[in-house]
């Protein structure tokens, strides 16, 4: 009897690639709901894709290559139809037809609340002191508020609100 022993660090990925799943389905899984283990591990809210188009590359024997598009629901927000870039990751999971309706139901709990971020921050002490001196030297009035303006990057992954 042969004994199989796995060597090395434990993998984060449990599952199949998106193209592996899609190639077993009718119309390459058009209209089906898939999700990733990474979404589940990272965020408490729901995230999934409803596939619109999948083009697996069958020249690749591992089925890690191809192209895919789908309607993205990320942390409870619908982001519209987007190209899926992480189809090659081996942590995709297919949601069964029976469970789809229940899985895709978004309640108030499943939506993430926006993080509130301040608009301004205090200057670093030395810089602030130096700036004040500079303003005094030039005779210009101090701007109000005399604080550092924070810039927040706004994208579909970052929904911070500045107050």
């Amino acid at each position: 009897m042969t004994i199989t022993r796995f060597i090395g660090r434990e993998s984060h990925f449990r599952g199949k690639t998106l193209y592996e799943i899609a190639s077993n389905l009718k119309n390459f899984g058009e209209g089906r709901v898939v999700t990733r283990l990474a979404f589940h591990n990272r965020y408490p809210e729901k995230s999934f894709y409803r596939l619109t188009k999948v083009v697996p590359n069958f020249t690749d024997t591992d089925l890690r290559k191809g192209k895919a598009w789908g309607e993205k629901v990320f942390r409870g927000d619908n982001c519209g139809v987007r190209e899926i870039n992480s189809g090659s990751k081996m942590d995709w999971k297919l949601i069964e037809r029976e469970d789809e309706e229940e899985f895709c139901k978004l309640t108030e709990k499943d939506k993430r609340s926006p993080t509130i971020v301040p608009k301004y921050a205090d200057y670093p002490p030395l810089l602030g002191e130096w700036l004040q001196m500079d303003y005094r030297r030039t005779g210009l009035p101090l701007p109000k508020p005399f604080k550092l303006k924070l810039k927040i990057e706004k994208s579909f992954t970052n929904k911070a609100v500045q107050e």
């Binding site: 060597i7 660090r9 971020v117 921050a121 670093p124 810089l127 550092l148 303006k149 924070l150 810039k151």
Partner: protein, 223 residues
């Protein structure tokens, strides 16, 4: 290297300075054994299937740290963008200043500075020339004295040599030549030389029969 680090640590300790962690772990008891093995030597048998377990993280602490790190990055980004804006504004102001009055004023300043520089150069040139003239005069004087001395020395030498030549010429009159050879031979044959005589310690000749003994000297009556 390690000893140097330890020395710095000790010196920092004595100053009561809070030094960074990287210096704190540097002591003589910690010796790095990395790169001890060549690359072609395989892993040891006991460590072949060993996989390090990931360091356990406190979830709450991790969340807090991530939040803090995000805040830090936001603030750093803000500071950086502030500085870039500041620099751009400065550049713009500089450009505008150059366009309006800056270049003219600067050129005038440059011209003035060139003038002042030329004046300074002239002053230093005057000083230098005076110094060089004095130095040349001094060196000429020294050279003249030296030449005089050398001349005197040469003349002395020439005179000495001349005297030697004269002596030799005078002596050459006594030389035996082809003409007077027979005469000289005759003269030598005629003359008699007697070298059978005593000398004293100083090499002086004592004439025969005239030597005085001590007793004779003492017995002699006073003149």
């Amino acid at each position: 290297m390690a000893s140097a680090c330890v020395r710095t640590c000790n010196s920092l300790k004595s100053l009561n300075i809070v030094y960074p962690l990287s210096l704190r772990v540097c002591n003589s008891s910690v010796i790095s054994v990395r790169w001890r093995k060549p690359r072609w030597i395989p892993k040891t048998q006991s460590k072949l299937f060993y996989v390090r377990k990931p360091t356990p993280r406190d979830e709450e602490e991790n969340k807090m740290l991530m939040q803090k790190y995000a805040n830090y990055r936001t603030q750093m980004k803000a500071i950086r963008s502030y500085f870039t804006k500041f620099v751009q504004e400065e550049k713009q102001a500089r450009k505008e200043y150059d366009k309006s009055v800056g270049i003219e004023q600067e050129l005038a300043e440059v011209r003035l500075s060139i003038e002042v520089n030329a004046q300074w150069n002239q002053e230093s040139a005057n000083i230098r020339e005076a110094r060089e003239l004095a130095e040349a005069q001094k060196s000429a004087k020294i050279k003249a004295i030296k030449d005089q001395k050398q001349k005197e020395k040469d003349e002395e030498q020439i005179a000495e040599l001349q005297s030697r030549i004269d002596n030799n010429i005078k002596f050459s009159e006594k030389f035996i030549t082809q003409e007077n050879m027979d005469e000289e031979i005759e003269k030598v044959l005629d003359s008699r030389k007697d070298f059978n005589f005593p000398i004293n310690r100083k090499g002086q000749r004592l004439t025969r029969g005239k030597t005085k003994l001590k007793e004779d000297i003492s017995s002699e009556p006073d003149a």
